[in-house]
Each structure stands twice: as structure tokens, then as C-alpha cells.
Amino acid sequence: MSLIAAAGTDFLNLHQSVKFVAGAYIVVLAVIVVYLAIMAKRLITNQRELTELRRLVDEREAAEGLAGGVGFGLDTTAETSAQRAEEHERAAEAIRSEHQL
């Protein structure tokens, strides 16, 4: 492969070449941007769902507080709370070990 080191050499089809090079780089960029846009859309959907869940948990906690610790069928005695905490910890551990999180 013969080469020249002089940048800026006037090739006959330089104008045409620039179009091809720009086209190739723009296509690659476009592919990545489209992928990122799809990912961003999914992220927004997930974020909305998390916001909704947070609101539901807040409402539940508020209702629980108003009902003096008994709300939505939740018994919040010390023993039951401990059991629930233990159960949640076990569930979280199962998720962590399953997905190595």
C-alpha cells in the first residue's frame, strides 16, 4: 500500500470523497443515537413506574400512620414487623444471588 504523508493533497475527487466519508460517519452516529433514544424511552417509562410505586408506598404509609399502625390489613406489632423485615431481607437476598447484584 503506497502512502503519502502530506495532508491536504489535492485529490481529484476530494469533494465526492468528503460526501462518502461524512455519510459513513453520520450513519454510524445515527445508529448509535437511535439505540440511545430507544434506551432513553425505556428508562423514562421505568422511571414513571418507580414514581408511581413511590407514591403508592407513601400513601400506604400515611394511611397506616392515620389508622394508628393498622391499615390495609397490615398488622404492625413488633413481632410481625420483625417477621416482615426478615421476609423482605430473604427476598432481597434471593434477588441479589440470582442476579449477582
Binding site: S2, L3, A7, V21, A24, Y25, V31, R60, H99
Partner: protein
């Protein structure tokens, strides 16, 4: 913080820096090639995309093998994301290659060129990966069959590459060989930096996708815990691991 999210910020910055450096070297440092002229600049993005996508397919196969060995879902997720990213990079590689071929050879595609056709065969083979997953409803079976496919497909990639290398007649320029390649130092520097940049981009996007998928799974679990099983619609059939 999940393992997918670890080092993601640093990885993203490293990717952006390397990519910027690679593009700067490509356009301001590497000389213009005598025979092809400015069109040769396409090669700095086209070849790394092709190489990294092929390596991604092989990585998908290795992750599939790890899933079959361990049964851990995370390997299935890694295999899926690696193949998914490789397909995206392949699309970029194929289109940029077609543009280069039009500029250099006067044709968008040359069917008599073994490198092009073999690469297309690999891409088409892996295009069936997602439909295969989608066609299997049971998540366990889906993961197992997909892993077997990934292993076989991943093993096919180097075999395909070697067979094409052994073929005598070809038009495609050779960038890398056992003697260290045909590139002069200035071009090689730009080329290897671009390969590193594309590899980093691959890893970063793959990690982002894995993080997004695991976050989605966690959200579903959280929803089930907060609202109960009945309140959460069953997971619809999906090609992605659930």
C-alpha cells in the same frame, strides 16, 4: 449498587475521551492514503465496528457457555446484551462498509467478495437469535436454547474468519496479519485508538443495557411486592431475559 452500574461513570468518560482522541487522530494525524484518497478515512470506523461486533458474537457465545455451566441468569443477560450490541454494531459496520465499497469499487455490494459475504452470513445468522428467543415462552427453556445457539454461533465466527483468510482470491484490503499488519505507524496509531474506542463503546453500551434490564426486572418485583401478584400483569412474551 449493582455490578452493572459499577464503574459506569468512569467507563463512559473513558469511552468519550478515547472516541474523541480516535476521531482527532483519524482526521488530523493519519495521512491521506495515496490510492483511495480521503475515502480511506471510512476504514477507521468501519473495520473497528466489524472487528468488535465479531468479538461481541464470540463473547455472547462464551457467556452462553457460562450460563449453561452455572445456570445463573446473569450470564444469559450478558449473552443477550452482547449479541444485541453486536447486531447494532454490525448494522453500522455493514452500512459504512457499503458506503466505502461504493466509493472505492463503484458498487454498494460485491457478492464475489468472500469477506463481505461471510460477514453478512454471520450477521444474518445472529439476526435469528432474537426471533428464536421470542418464539420460546418458557423463560428457562428460552435461556437454555438461546445459550446453545449463542455457543454454536460464537464458535462459527472464528471458523468463518479463518476459512475466508485461507481463500486465495479476494479484493478486500487486509489490515491485520500475523506479520503485524500493513499499516504505517501514523495510520496504525489512529486505527488502534479507534479499535479501543469502539471496544469501550461496546462495553459501555452493553453495561447500560444490562443495567436498564436489571432495573426493569427489579421494578417489576417491587411492584409485585407493593401491589401483590394480582395487581401486576403477567410478563408478556419477550425476546429479552425476564
Amino acid at each position: 449498587m449493582s455490578t452493572h452500574a459499577k464503574h459506569l461513570r468512569g467507563l463512559t468518560i473513558a469511552t468519550l475521551v478515547t472516541l474523541t482522541a480516535g476521531l482527532a487522530l483519524t482526521f488530523f494525524y493519519a495521512p491521506i492514503e495515496l490510492n483511495e484518497g480521503f475515502v480511506q478515512k471510512i476504514f477507521y470506523v468501519h473495520v473497528p465496528l466489524a472487528i468488535i461486533s465479531l468479538m461481541g458474537y464470540v463473547a455472547g457465545g462464551v457467556f452462553g457457555l457460562m450460563y449453561l455451566r452455572t445456570g445463573k441468569k446473569v450470564w444469559d443477560l450478558r449473552s443477550y446484551c452482547a449479541i444485541h450490541m453486536s447486531l447494532i454494531f454490525s448494522i453500522g459496520g455493514l452500512i459504512s462498509g457499503a458506503i466505502w465499497a461504493k466509493a472505492a469499487w463503484g458498487h454498494w455490494w460485491v457478492w464475489s467478495e468472500p469477506t463481505l459475504v461471510s460477514y453478512l452470513i454471520v450477521v444474518l445468522l445472529f439476526c435469528t437469535y432474537q426471533p428464536l428467543r421470542f418464539s420460546i415462552e418458557d423463560p428457562e427453556r428460552q435461556s437454555t436454547y438461546a445459550a446453545v445457539f449463542a455457543v454454536v454461533g460464537g464458535a462459527f465466527v472464528p471458523l468463518n474468519f479463518i476459512v475466508v483468510r485461507l481463500s486465495v482470491q479476494y479484493l478486500h484490503p487486509r489490515v491485520l496479519n500475523l506479520e503485524g499488519g500493513q499499516l504505517p505507524a501514523s495510520m496504525a496509531t489512529a486505527f488502534y485508538v479507534m479499535v479501543a474506542a469502539i471496544a469501550l463503546l461496546f462495553v459501555t453500551l452493553m453495561k447500560y443495557e444490562m443495567l436498564a434490564k436489571s432495573t426493569r426486572m427489579e421494578t417489576r418485583r417491587l411492584r409485585r411486592r407493593v401491589l401483590g401478584d394480582d395487581a401486576v400483569a403477567p410478563v408478556s412474551r419477550s425476546a429479552a431475559p425476564v
